[in-house]
């Protein structure tokens, strides 16, 4: 019942000075809403990056042909990457999960009277898994199609539209790629942008078919992709690729290699780091504003203690212990801060939703950030309320009663 009295008194005091209480809590409100909105923005950006990672392939290494260097000087001749290199990597490098060669170029794609110019990618079936490409209709091609240099194609999500035909109708139909007939096996789900690629607008065919039937017997690959099981195994994978390709290209140890290996997730890791720094910075700013808010709370609590010195004296004269008075002012500060926190959470959530609607930024409101913001504002209330409350509790009853 003492707690009820204390809460009643705290609410009464806040209500009696409503405007002042609100202005005091404003610091907390702004701090908390900033935290909530910032965390929501950060979380949204994080999710976007994670999407991006999955689209750019998880732990995928890109191998490209490079110039052969000799003593720091380019010797001019470049060694191509070939399907044999890809096969060697597949067969001799156990550290690589899947391999796919890639040969790509733009070409004319036609169906009935429609035609368009698309990126044609000659790949192995493993490519789809590597880049998390999924089927919406039909099927992928398999190694059998690759071996048989079969004229089959899997289309990116928006290709049927450019060919003026619904996806379901296009399955099993024959389209023309650079004049060659190809059977449509499958249509992919929508992916959006993935780095510089737009898988939605691409046409995927077996590597062998692309080499011999589309690009006219070209042996040179654009690149080879190798997927590694986990980030931890990257170093080992780099080593294996290096060893295998040196053997294939007969590059002696110590001599410079004629290819380059690039980790596509490096870029994302960098972005993530930046994002984290940014989040930390924002958290710092929000933290400072909460502390400033807390100081405001302390200030107003000191005013409140001074104003109510006589009341404190009366309560002490009637038998209130130091603890009861301490508790009363602590609760008042706590209630003030938590109310500020709740309003701040509402404002922050509202702000985040407004940002995502009007600025079209991704936001994701995390329940943890709400719980944390509330806990933090309660902590601020306790921390900054303690000193004024102690001052009230320590007052001598007669001095308090005599206070003018």
């Amino acid at each position: 019942m003492l707690i009820k009295e204390i809460l009643w008194v705290a609410l009464g005091a806040i209500r009696a000075n409503l405007l002042r209480s609100f202005l005091t809590a404003l610091g907390i409100i702004i701090g908390v809403s900033a935290v909530i909105a910032m965390v929501a923005l950060g979380e949204g950006a994080q999710r976007r990056v994670e999407d991006q990672i999955s689209r750019m392939g998880t732990n995928v290494l890109t191998i490209r042909a490079g110039q052969r260097m000799f003593g720091g000087v380019s010797t001019g001749d470049t060694e191509d990457l070939t399907v044999e290199d890809a096969e060697a990597l597949r067969d001799q490098s156990p550290g690589l999960l899947t391999i796919s060669p890639e040969i790509s170029s733009r070409a004319q794609v036609a169906y009935l009277r429609w035609n368009s110019n698309n990126q044609i990618r000659g790949v192995w079936p493993e490519y789809f898994g590597m880049y998390n490409l999924e089927l919406e209709h039909g099927a992928f091609f398999d190694q059998g199609h690759v071996q048989g240099r079969r004229r089959v194609a899997v289309l990116g999500h928006s290709v049927p539209e450019t060919l003026g035909t619904p996806a379901t109708i296009l399955i099993g139909k024959t389209i023309q790629i650079r004049g060659q007939p190809f059977e449509v096996l499958g249509i992919l789900t929508e992916k959006g942008e993935a780095g510089f690629n737009r898988p939605d607008e691409e046409v995927f065919v077996p590597t062998s078919t692309a080499q011999y039937r589309v690009f006219g017997g070209r042996n040179r690959l654009s690149s080879i992709f190798a997927q590694v099981a986990s980030q931890d195994l990257m170093d080992r994978a780099f080593g294996e690729i290096d060893a295998t390709l040196r053997r294939e290209h007969r590059v002696r140890p110590g001599e410079a290699v004629d290819f380059s290996v690039r980790n596509s997730s490096d870029l994302i890791a960098t972005f993530n780091e930046t994002n984290e720094t940014f989040a930390l910075l924002l958290a710092g700013i929000a933290g400072i504003s909460l502390i400033v808010g807390g100081i405001g709370i302390m200030n107003i609590m000191l005013v409140s203690v001074t104003e109510r010195t006589r009341e404190i004296g009366v309560r002490k004269a009637l038998g209130a212990t130091r603890g009861a008075i301490l508790f009363q002012f602590l609760i008042e500060a706590l209630v003030l801060c938590v109310m500020g926190g709740v309003i701040g959470v509402l404002a922050g959530v509202g702000g985040a939703m407004a940002i995502s609607r009007f600025a079209e930024w991704n936001t994701a409101i995390s329940p943890q950030s709400i719980v944390m913001a509330l806990a933090f504002s309660a902590g601020i209330g306790l921390f900054f309320g303690l000193w004024p409350a102690q001052r009230a509790a320590k007052l001598n009853p007669i001095d308090a009663l005599r206070y003018e």
């Binding site: 019942m1 009637l318 038998g319 209130a320 212990t321």
Partner: protein, 230 residues
């Protein structure tokens, strides 16, 4: 014996000067007595009341309340004594302005940890006792001075204290209202309540059965009222 003091003193040191507000008071007050403390302004009456009311601590001397030594009690124990053993009525009422009369009277019971239902019943009973049964929901600003002081008396009585103290309870009231309050005190005393009041008005002091006069922090006179008004 409700009160026994021995060389009770309160000295204030202001720079080089020492103000001897109370300078060694020996006094005994028995259960059921009605004592008026008198004396000129600055003689130490309020200081004495605050000391025996445990609102202030003496700089020297001893004080027994109900046979228990008070001087060496802790802050929390003193709070309990103020809550349970003493009822204090102030010249300026000292009610909480935003709380109703009922809530003001309940306050000591809240700090005593009494449950809501019992609290309400007891507070209503005391308010009726002082003749304010019909004003329980009113806040102090809505009450007259006399009514406020009655609320304060009800509040002082709520815990059935061993000692009822009143420092110039009629000081802020006109003489008729003051006399009404004094009649409340007389009735209470008739039922066995020990009462000590401070006043500098003779006709108020006449209600008491004993007068103690202070002068410069010392007892000047201590006598029984022969021609007590009833």
């Amino acid at each position: 014996m409700v009160i026994k003091t021995e060389d009770l003193s309160k000295h204030y040191i202001l720079g080089v000067e020492t103000v001897k507000a109370l300078d060694g008071v020996d006094l005994e007050i028995a259960t059921g007595e009605f004592v008026a403390v008198m004396g000129p302004s600055g003689s130490g009456k309020s200081t004495f009341m605050n000391l025996i009311g445990c609102l202030d601590t003496p700089t020297a001397g001893n004080y027994w309340l109900n046979g228990g030594q008070v001087s060496n009690l802790s802050e929390d124990e003193l709070a309990r004594v103020r809550n349970q053993e003493i009822g204090f009525v102030f010249q300026t009422f000292n009610l909480l302005p935003r709380a109703t009369a009922l809530h003001n009277v309940e306050l000591p019971l809240i700090y005593a940890g009494v449950g809501v239902k019992e609290r309400r019943e007891r507070a209503e009973e005391k308010l009726s006792l002082v003749g304010l049964g019909d004003r329980m929901g009113h806040r102090p600003p809505e009450l007259s001075g006399g009514q406020r002081q009655r609320v304060a008396v009800a509040r002082a009585l709520i815990n059935e204290p061993a000692l009822l103290l009143a420092d110039e309870p009629t000081g802020n009231l006109d003489s008729t209202t003051g006399k009404d309050i004094m009649k409340v005190f007389v009735d209470l005393n008739a039922q066995g309540q020990t009462i000590v009041i401070v006043t500098h008005e003779n006709d108020i002091a006449e209600y008491a059965e004993r007068q103690v006069h202070l002068l410069d922090g010392l007892i000047d006179k201590d006598f029984r009222n022969e021609d007590r008004e009833i």
